[in-house]
Every structure is written in C-alpha cells, then in structure tokens.
C-alpha cells in the first residue's frame, strides 16, 4: 500500500515465470505447463484464453497452490477448482468454454489449418473465478497448437466433380490413404485430415454439400466413389491401402460405401458416432426425406434444444431401412458415446453387430463405447460442447459431460491411430521379411 502500483507489481511480477513445453505442438500432443518463482504455498489460478477465428473468446482455468519450492506443475499437481479439477495435464484445453456473455451455441472448429490455434496461458494470484480480462496476470505465455505437421502438403482438389482438400505427409511415400467425411453441417472441414496426414496418411477431406444446406444435398453414391478413387489413384498413395473415416452423417456414408460399393474396396473403416439407418437404394435427398418423416418424434429439452436421438428409435426390424452391413468385407471400428443425444449410435452399433454376426462377419467389427460421452467425438483436447447451433438458429443437444467426453476423445484417438496403423501400415515382423 502506498507504493506506486507498477513498482509493487514489478517487484512481484518480475520473477514469476510460466512455461509451456513444447510451446509449439500438434493438437493431439500433450504439453507441460509450469510456473516458477512463486512464494511457497501461494494460491494461484492457471488460465487459458483463445480467440477463435469467429472472434469468440474461449477460456478455462484451474486453482492451484504452489509447493515448497514455489512451483506449480499442471501435469503433476491437483487443480482444486475451476473448469476442471484433479490432476489434468491438458485440462486448460479440453475444459474450455465460451467466456461469460458470449453468443449462444458456439462450437470450436479450426477452419484455416495452415496457421496454428493460439492459446494464451497465464497465471494469476489467488483463486480467481471470473473477470480475468480485468486483471493483470503475474505472467503469461503463448502456445501454438497445430493441426498441420511440418512438411505436410495441402492440395486443393477440384476434379471429376469432386471438391475437397488432400493432405500428403512429407517424405518420399507412397503412403496409405484416407477418405475423410464430416457430418450434417456440411462444408469443407480440413482439420482432421490435416492431423491424419501429420500421422502419415494421405487424407482427403471431402466436401459433399455446402455448409448449412443439408436439405439440398444431392450427391449421388458415385460422387463418393470418385472421391475415393482420386485418393487411390494419387501417385503417392498405396492403392490397396485406402481407408474410410467418417463422423455422424459421414460415418453413415462410410458404412454405406463399405457395404454397398462394387467399385471401391476400402481397406478399413473408422466410424465415429454413426449408424446404419439408411433406406436401401436411396440417395441423400431420399435419406433426408425419410428422416423428416419421423420428425414428429423430435423432442426438445428444457432449454428448447433439439434431441434428435429418438427420431429413429426404435431401430427398425425392416431390413430395407438399414444398410446391409453383412456385406462389409473390411475391418470396422465403431466409436460411440453412450450419452449421444443426437443419434442412437449405440443402439445402431448393437444392431450392426447383430447383423454382421448373422453374416459371419463379426470378426471384422470392433466397438468402443464411452459412458457420458456425446455425439461430437473430436480429436483430443478439443473443447466439449454439449449443445451447439447447427443449421440456422436451431440448437442441437449433442450430449456428453465434459470430463468423460474429453477422456473419450483422448482414448478414442489413440485407438483410432492404432487401428489405422494396424490395417494400413505393414505390421508383419520385419525379421520375417528381410
């Protein structure tokens, strides 16, 4: 008291050091956040802040107490409160949510993968709950989170009527390939393919309808087959090692291709939050009309958020309403959240298993289901959104609770990469080969 504020602050501030290691990393890599030169036993708040491409602010924070050496290590110490608790090395990322006063129904998705996500990590004195913007931190540092690894090439694809972006890993190749499809929100989202390429897969992020224009989606089956062939025929892709990756509607398309295509042969298929409910012989337009005919079953919750889960329950017995998954001949990995409020993915997975078992194909199927995880199972450390705006101003309930959903994202990604490695890269013992 009495001393000029800046002087007091300077003496206190000038030695506190915060570090994030590594300061630049891929989005699925962990980091270590550490603070040093605090007085021992001090309560402090670790805070993360990110300004999205849409100019929304996202934040997370944890309450810590420095140890006898005056340090805090997020990877090793307990958070006693905040947006996450416990020992959570990556809690400052996955527990992020829009700051108070933000627009409703936001979802964090990277559009430009050529530049990183910038996250500011700060340390504040005391256990702060709000008003971070009005306070000065003791120290802060910036960290970069990349979807694109160094040397990965990005190629815009607009050929044979197909639109998308192909990502090729660095090196001589050739590489296994991937056709990567997102869901009903449409548009062209590159971030998962960029990340897959950073792990050694030549991946094509496919645009199959314009963002927000679900009802006008009119691509025929052949569009997807052509897209698959574009990957397969690329000089740096191993033609018999091309897989399918889909989430939500994209997952349904992946299953459709695996079951019904006579033109393409996927080596394996990753289906996240998908299903098999698809009137046989229908195109996308007809599919949506079929779903719309059940819209009277749509429910809303107490906040007027739409729950689509029940639209297609119970799972029909009528085989003509379902993909003939018994015809699938490649390994399938189904990743679902048990609290999925958008789609009855677990019920579908159960039924798919039943159908594949009847066809003697059960050995091809691997199912992973996560309690309290929702529909949007994204790459690890992405923030969880229980409900977001979908098309126009409708808010959809996706489900999931933040911590279990974050765990599901981390665990499923590890399983997905292992599955892809097993089926798309050599696995035989090199001793046998040389």
């Amino acid at each position: 008291e009495g001393a000029p504020v800046s002087l007091v602050r300077a003496r206190w501030l000038q030695s506190v050091v915060i570090s994030v290691t590594p300061s630049r990393a891929l989005v699925d890599e962990t980091f270590r956040v550490a603070v040093q030169n605090l007085p021992p036993g001090s309560p402090v708040t670790l805070h993360s802040l990110h300004r999205s491409e849409d100019e929304d602010l996202w934040e997370a924070f944890g309450h810590y107490v420095s140890d006898s050496r005056g340090t805090v290590s997020v990877a090793d110490d307990f958070s006693f409160g905040g947006t996450y608790t416990g020992k959570e090395a990556m809690g400052l990322l996955w527990s992020m949510s829009p700051v108070p006063g933000s627009r409703e129904g936001l979802r964090l998705r990277k559009k430009n993968v050529c530049i990183p996500q910038l996250v500011n990590i700060s340390v504040y004195g005391g256990h702060v709950e709000e008003g971070f913007g009005e306070r000065l931190p003791l120290a802060s540092t910036l960290t970069e989170r990349w979807h694109l690894g160094p040397g990965v090439r990005r190629i815009e694809i607009s050929e044979r009527g197909v639109r998308g972006t192909l990502f090729i890993p660095p090196g001589p190749g050739p590489f296994p390939g991937m056709l990567d499809m997102w869901g009903g929100g449409g548009g062209l989202l590159e971030y998962r393919s960029a990340l897959l390429a950073s792990h050694g897969y030549a991946s094509l992020a496919l645009e199959y309808f314009t963002a927000g224009e679900l009802k006008s989606a009119d691509k025929e089956f052949s569009y997807f087959e052509t897209a698959f062939n574009i990957v397969r025929e690329h000089p740096q892709v191993i033609p018999d090692r091309v897989g399918l990756f889909g989430l939500s509607l994209g997952s349904l398309m992946a299953s459709y291709l695996a079951a019904e295509s006579s033109v393409i042969e996927p080596r394996c298929c990753v289906c996240v939050s998908g299903g098999h409910l698809y009137p046989r012989g229908a195109n996308l337009q007809q599919l949506f009309r079929a779903y719309s005919s059940h819209s009277h079953k749509l429910r809303v919750d107490e906040h007027n958020r739409e729950i689509w889960r029940s639209i297609n329950l119970p799972i029909p017995e009528d085989l003509s309403q379902k993909l003939d998954v018994g015809k699938i001949n490649c390994p399938m990995l189904l990743v679902n959240g048990i609290d999925d409020q958008n789609w009855p993915t677990v019920e579908c997975a159960e039924d798919m298993a039943h159908m594949m078992r009847a066809a003697g194909k059960e050995h091809l199927l691997t199912r992973i289901e996560y309690p309290d995880a929702g529909h949007l199972i994204e790459p690890p450390y992405s923030p969880h959104s229980r409900a977001t705006k979908f098309i126009k101003d409708v808010i959809l309930l996706w489900g999931g609770q933040t911590k279990p959903h974050a765990d599901a994202q981390e665990d499923s990604w590890r399983n997905i990469l292992a599955f892809l490695q097993k089926h798309l890269y050599c696995t035989q013992n090199p001793k046998a080969k040389m």
């Binding site: 300077a10 501030l13 630049r24 990183p116 160094p150 660095p170 090196g171 890269y425 090199p430």
Partner: protein, 435 residues
C-alpha cells in the same frame, strides 16, 4: 510426427522415422528415432537444409540398429559421417555446405519470423554421398524457430537507430538487453530473438552499417549506443533498471567501452564473447572510428565476411599501457567473459586473463566470471549453429569442442542473465546501485 514407408507387395520392411519435437526453438534439443528395422540394419540419418541464400547444407551419420531394431540418435553412437559418437544434435551443428559449394559460407538466418526447415531422412546403408540420387526410406521435416510463440518483433528507427527490438510473450515488464554482433556489420536478429524467447526484451543493434552511416558516411559514436539504451530504458514494458549488454567480437570492444565510460548507460550486467578490452582510450566519443583505424587499414565502409582480418596479430602482445585498454578495474556490474582457447581471430583468452589481473588489482574481481573453452574457436554462437570444419579453418576451434562450448556457454549465459536481471532487488554483491 511418425512416418512409415511401405511398398505394397515387397518384402521390404517398414521404417518408422520420428523427430520430437517437430517444431522447436533453435536452442532446444530434439530426439530422432528410427524404428521397425532389422537388428543390425545399417542406415544413414541425413539432414538437409537450404539456407536463405539458396545454398544447400547437409549432415549425416552412420548408425547400426539395436537388437530391438531401432536407432535413437540421442543415445546411440554414430560410426561415421559429419559427426561420430553419441551426439544428440550432431545433425544440426555438423551441417556443412554440400560438396561443390562456394567457400567461406556461414549460416546465418536473417529472417527470424520464419523457421529453419530441416529435412531429416533415413537411407539404407552407410552412405557418404549421392544422397540426392537415392530415394530415402522415410523423411520428415523439422522446424527450428528463433522466435517463441508470442514474441513480438518491433523495428526501431527512432533516434537514427537501425535496430530491432524483440519483446517476450506476456504483459511484462521485462529486463532489457542490447545485443551487439561483430565486424561483419548488418542487422543480425537471431540471438536477440532467442533471448526474447527466454524472457528478456532484447534489441539487436546494427552499429557498423546502420542507415545513418550509409547516408552520411560517418561512423556512429557514444550517442548512438546511448540512444539505443534509452529506447530500452524508457520502454513501458521494460524495466529501466535492469538492462544488460551482450557483445561478440567487435561487439565486446563496444560493450566494455560503454560499460566503463558511458555516463548514460548503466548496465545491470554485461556478457562479452570472444573479444578484447584492448583499444585506444583517448576520451574521444568517436571511438568506433578510432577503433577501426587503430586495428585495420581496411576500407571502413565495407564490412563483409570475406574481409577476414586477423585481429590477433594486431592486438598481441596485450599492452601494459593503460591508455590502450578499457579500465575494467572501474567496472561496477557483473561481467561474464566467454572465450575459446583456440580463437584464431581475436586474442580472447589472453585478453580475459589480462582483464582478470586488472580487476584483481582494482579489487572488483568478484564481478568477473570467465568461461574458457579448450579447442573452441572465435564464433561462439547459440547452440546447434553449424560449427563445421570449413568454418573452423577460418575462425579456429575443433568442431565437437566448439559445439560443446556453444551449448554450455549459452546455458550459462542464460543463467547469468536470469540471476542478474531477474533475481533479487540488488544486483551483484558490491555493484553500486544505478537503479
């Protein structure tokens, strides 16, 4: 990042190559791992870099896979190549111009806002040449950055200065530092950018070829350095009482001169690399001009790497005449001297010993720390900067010892700066307070 290579139907095994971290600072180490080869498999790990000047640089090492079919460059010995033995960062510091390149090349990144992109590949067998004609088993790209995320680069032209200020990430305030290179001139930013990545607001200063000298033909003098110091001192995000100066080679001459004789510059501490205190002290502020005319007959308006003047011969033996040396007995701040004992360019080691003696006689020797490295040469740069034999021929030093000196001295320089710039409210023991 992990990469495999697999051909479809052949019996060729799949090599997995990874470098972690794939994006790091220039002074950080990385781990290169090769996996999924046969035990005893012979391979060459190869690094390739095309510098800003368009020249190609390469480094390579021969390894033999372990019983588990892996090579870890950080732990396994290289059996030959541009480095041998266990050298975690050998692929960086042993980079050399590819055969057939022009001589005298030195790798200096001038644009610090983009990373150095190094391609690391693995080839079958123990190769020593013709890498360009072979297809590697796998390759990855590693980015090496001089600027940490959030570091801000601010060109400074006020007061007639030609300088660039790098502010660390965060709200500050930060201690400051004036960063001076040597006789080659130009505005060289990479060390200042790295220092800012470590929390010090560092200003790289061009004092031999600044705009003002190009326009007027006149060399700068005290006022120029004092103006630079003032920019730091008055900056709202810099702690005016915690400013250091770091000089290499000719920059040492300037640093010592200003530390002792400037009425304006009050340093918290100083770091002098590969330089000397020997210079005419004649009370003139036109000291840079007089330094150069004392030392050399070379055309003072041209500074480039080809002008390789051997200062050693001109400055030895170290004079006993006080008017020919900065009176380091009058220093009031901690001083760190970094010298290579095989410096072929300046008599750094001899100068350091003489300075020590002068400070002992004056009673301020407790301010002095000398880091002296056997077999290190003149250009003691931040770690993992190439110190290949071709460069050593000009400047002295043996590559491995020089690389060790760079790594060790940088770490200790950062500690020295941190202790003196960040620590406590009092600077070094008996240094009086300019604060």
């Amino acid at each position: 990042i992990f990469f495999y290579n697999c051909t479809i139907s052949t019996a060729r095994c799949c090599v997995k190559l990874s470098v972690h971290p794939s994006r790091g600072l220039m002074d950080e180490k990385f781990t290169v791992l090769v996996q999924n080869v046969l035990p005893g498999f012979q391979l060459t790990v190869y690094a390739f870099y095309k510098c800003e000047g368009g020249y190609s640089w390469e480094a390579f090492a021969h390894y033999t896979a372990s019983a588990t079919g892996a090579v870890n460059v950080s732990e396994d010995p290289s059996r030959g190549g541009t480095y041998s033995g266990v050298e975690p960062m050998g692929l960086m510091w042993s980079l050399r111009p590819v055969p057939g390149s022009k001589s005298g090349l030195r790798m200096r990144k001038m644009n610090v806002q983009t990373p150095m992109e190094v391609t690391i590949s693995v080839y079958q067998g123990h190769l020593t040449e013709g890498f360009v004609d072979q297809v590697p088993l796998a390759a990855v790209v590693v980015e090496r950055w001089y600027m940490a995320p959030g570091v801000r680069r601010i060109p400074i032209t006020e007061g007639g200065l030609t300088a660039t200020l790098f502010l660390p990430s965060g709200p500050g305030p930060f201690p400051g530092l004036l960063d001076l290179w040597g006789g080659g001139g130009k505005l060289v930013e990479y060390r200042a950018a790295l220092l800012a990545s470590h929390g010090i607001a560092a200003m790289a200063l061009d004092y031999l070829t600044p705009q003002i000298t190009k326009e007027t033909g006149k060399m700068v003098d005290y006022e120029y350095f004092e103006a630079a110091y003032r920019v730091l001192e008055q900056h709202p995000q810099i702690l005016g009482s915690r400013i250091a100066m770091l000089g290499l080679s000719f920059g040492t001459s300037v640093t010592l001169r200003m530390a002792v004789y400037s009425q304006v510059i009050k340093l918290r501490c100083a770091v002098c690399i590969s330089g000397s205190h020997v210079q005419p002290i004649d009370g003139s502020h036109l000291f840079v001009f007089s330094l150069l005319s004392f030392f050399s007959n070379a055309d003072k308006t041209r500074f480039n790497e080809e002008q390789h003047v051997i200062w050693r011969d001109l400055l030895m033996p170290i004079p006993t005449d006080a008017s020919l040396k900065v009176d380091v007995g009058r220093l009031r701040c901690p001083l760190l001297l970094v010298v290579g004992e095989d410096d072929q360019n300046w008599p750094s080691y001899e100068s350091a010993m003489d300075m020590k003696e002068m400070m002992q006689r004056a009673g301020n020797e407790h301010l002095l720390t000398v880091l002296s490295y056997p077999n290190a040469g003149h250009l003691i740069e931040p770690p993992f900067t190439p110190s290949a034999r071709a460069i050593m021929v000009l400047w002295g030093g043996e590559p491995v010892a020089h690389s060790v000196a760079q790594e060790d001295s940088w770490r200790k320089t950062l500690v020295f700066l941190r202790v003196n710039l960040y620590g406590g409210s009092q600077p070094g023991a008996a240094a009086s307070s300019h604060l």
